[in-house]
Amino acid sequence: MLEINNQYTLMKRHIDTEVLRAFFAGTLEDVVDNLPIHIIPRTRDPNRCCVYKERAMVRYRIMALLGVDIEKDDDEYKTLSSYVKESLETKTPVFPSLTTISPGCSSCPDEQYRITDSCRGCFARPCLANCPKEAIVFVNGKAHIDEKRCIKCGKCLGVCPFHAVIHVPVPCEEACPVDAIHKNEEGFVEIDREKCIDCGHCSRSCPFGAIAERSSLMQVAGMLKKKEEVVAMIAPAIEGQFPGSLGQIVAGLKALGFSDVVEVAEGAHITAAHEAEELQERLSRGDKFMTTSCCPAYMQLVDRHVPTLSELRSKALSPMGYTARLCAERRPEAKLVFIGPCLAKKIEAAQFPEIETVITFAELASLLVARDIDIKEMVVSQDDVHVKTYADCREFAVPQGVANSVIRRSEKPIQVMNINGVDQKTVRLMKTWTKRAPEAELIEVMCCEGGCLAGPGVLVNPKIANRLRQGANVATVGSKPLGGAKHV
């Protein structure tokens, strides 16, 4: 999968920021049709075939930001300003959360193993000997792969002493854990909505930016601009995403215009306590194991692909669910916005009438930049000092963290196992669990490898996020080794 920060994600943030700047200045409808030209000047050295294609892609990115389902509602005759008008009047519908941009799709060649010029045509021929399908043929003394026979097992790649075999994947297909993304008859990317679990792995791995998430950012910007009563519910992963302490991030959110900021770690405390109790109940009635229920992509994975596990998931709500209920009790009039690293959370949030909408950390970053709010310079006020009872639940964002929080709340010791990242292989493994129970009582599942800190909506490399979370000062964070004092 691609690194969090690459030319595409940086461009995406740049576009979001420019759109938001114009929105807050009240000029968005007037300038939006010129924004692609402003962002991609003719003098730019393009990464795509030409600046004109890049401008077209900026246009699509703006449409995704406005919440348009590009797959369905792309109308080339329509101006961006009319899209802006429509989107500001209506609430962005939740489904589908991902949309494909077929003009951006590079129609990557099908996944294949290929033998390169480095093949020396050796005498031992381990590729030939190890191929289970006799797909290796020798032409002019060098190995070739007969594509009709090749089953893409990759054995030849592993045995070649010259590393002459390469694997050329289709990045989106390789990243999708549930085989939900393919090329259609025209050769462009298409998502199977019945199979998709909204994990966002495809959008993160496409190096052409052909899969976009439909954003609700403009909706949130609109609420802030109108000075409505809006509460930000911040996911446990937020710590370490911005150049400053958690208190400074909270202060920054308030400066943006959020009436209040609530840590979802508070709800995570309820989730963990519930799971600790529920696990003992289940074990005493004879269940072999229980899985966690806080990862929304995992929840959809079970619903759509591994129904045998549906009764073995904890009945606890996710931290977001409990936090939303707490907030709704405390401030019934306020609109709730969840800010997290996750795309699947949008789908989960749709089940909670309390929650208005969901945005990502990367989108929040664009809001901060557009409003010239500098997290590092924020002064932490006394009200932003946080409660300690649930502080340990900030660990929900990292692999093993959910399990640890449950262990701390459990009366008896429990055996745990963690699934750190779900891919096609893990899904196959999960399907066997009801036949052969895993050797653990509590199974923590996180769809993204590296936990929520590596979710599709994060802003920084998890390495930096981890150091900042361990209390490193942003001025010297680069020189701090991992494992500094925890400041909880």
Partner: protein, 87 residues
């Protein structure tokens, strides 16, 4: 007399941080130890340059021995530091 040390300030204002400045903070991982040993690197408050209206002058910014460079990537940082050390 040892070699003079290069003073490096990486801007960690939000605008720079968001536009890839955060990755520069991984300098321990991508700079060679010999080079690293000759530089004093720190994160600094917003240098204020992101607010100028100049399309070529983009975040992230890095100040090396008093000179500010724009659009710095990890690769470019390494090049700039090499030049500064050799100078």
């Amino acid at each position: 007399m040892g070699q003079k040390r290069v003073k490096v300030n990486i801007c960690v204002g939000t605008a720079c941080f968001v536009q890839g400045g955060a990755d520069l903070l991984l300098y321990e991982d991508f700079l060679e130890p010999q080079l690293l040993g000759l530089c004093d690197i720190e994160g600094t408050s917003c240098l204020g340059l992101c607010k100028q209206d100049n399309s070529d002058w983009k975040a992230p910014f890095v100040e090396i021995d008093g000179t500010v460079y724009s659009n710095v990537t990890p690769k470019r940082l390494e090049e700039l530091l090499r030049e500064a050390v050799d100078a």
